[in-house]
Symmetry: C2
Subunit: 232 residues, 2 copies
């Protein structure tokens, strides 16, 4: 069986939410981060979920996070890439596949996760992505439109991003050696010549960035009629 490790960088400061730590906001009666972790723990092939936490939380991690023995925590860094690097160092050496998932995407579905795992288990590096509904304009610094790229060729990147473990490790090693800051894992491996593909994400798999996003996620949860499981 493929051995899957999951990396969740939750070390950010949540500046756009007025300083609140987004992964610890409550959604449907449960922390956003708890919802991000659970669908991975529901898979038998997931051998480790490595969560990068801010230093204060790392010193006193919440009990609900540590309830499953496969969850491990590391200290997050100043930037997302630093958090991923720290988490990657804690991924078990025999993991075949590494998934990186945003700590602010609590509505990721089992089907999206499965597509990511299946692709990476077959040796591909992929990101979950969805079609772009709106017309996208490229603007200059004054907001003047400079061009309109063909929408059929655009995708909105989501997470998980999924990689054969050796591919992601190698990219981070080479980035560290070259002094390159990693911001986007797919862009990083692509920089080193790896072909990155896409698998179908889901519109519901939104990233909670603003208070409006949180309200929207609540509405989506209410729509599915899901009962809030509460925090263990």
């Amino acid at each position: 069986m493929t051995r899957v490790a999951v990396v969740i960088p939750a070390g950010g400061s949540g500046r756009r939410m007025g300083g609140a730590l987004k992964p610890f906001l409550v959604l449907g009666g449960e922390p956003v981060l708890a919802r991000c972790v659970r669908p991975f723990l529901d898979r038998a092939d997931v051998v480790a979920v490595i969560v990068a936490l801010p230093p204060l939380l790392h010193a006193a991690p919440p009990a609900w996070l540590m309830a499953d023995h496969r969850v491990a925590i590391v200290v997050g860094g100043a930037e997302r890439g630093d958090s991923v690097r720290n988490a990657l160092a804690a991924v078990p050496a025999d993991a075949d596949v590494v998934l990186v998932h945003d700590a602010a995407r609590p509505l990721v579905s089992p089907a999206v996760i499965e597509r990511c795992v299946a692709a990476a288990a077959a040796g591909r590096s992929v990101i979950a992505a969805v079609a772009v509904v709106d017309t996208i304009k490229v603007v200059d610094g004054d907001g003047v439109v400079v061009n309109t790229p063909d929408r059929a060729r655009l995708r909105a990147a989501q997470t998980p991003q999924a990689f054969p473990a050796a591919v992601l490790r190698d990219a981070y090693d080479r980035a560290a050696a070259a002094g390159i800051a990693a911001t986007d894992d797919a862009a990083l491996v692509a920089r080193f010549g790896v072909v990155v593909g896409t698998v179908a994400g889901a519109v519901e798999n939104l990233k909670i960035t603003t208070a409006a996003d949180l309200a929207l996620a609540e509405a989506l949860l209410a729509r599915t009629g899901e009962a809030a499981p509460g925090v263990q």
Copy 2:
């Protein structure tokens, strides 16, 4: 006072909604199209709202649409650009500004409309647009990522799009003379050398393209606590 004309192309077939005519779907107890038209009619400077309807509906337009004497209807065309062209021909000759608004964006706010009108009244051609939250990837025909444009330079175009009346008329005249099909009005005027700017849209000003979008719009309406006004 600036004289504002509004063009609403509602002639499409709604193929993505299983053949339903999207502007006639009910949202919060009222047709989507009724919600698209009302915030414009609420403005004293709007002298005409020209709605392009599919032929069957044009022959028997709904009474709620025709209740305001400023509303006029024209027959829609096969493509959006054909509908806008037909509507443009019915815009009063003394209109100073023309706004084009999607018939599937029922949650457009007075503030967004005001920004569009103010810009066009000052001689600018603009589109309402919002920041792009997700990372956008450009893919090839196989879904392989070919590049990642700088997100800070991307905007998601919404409507209204707003133009000095002469600018939009001129662009359509030149397009017709050159045999160019118009799909996006801002792209069309830009093609003829007009600088197109952006004004702030709103995340809530979503386009209803799928059943999930309709559910989301219902949730957004419920959140604002708006009472359904019912259909006159």
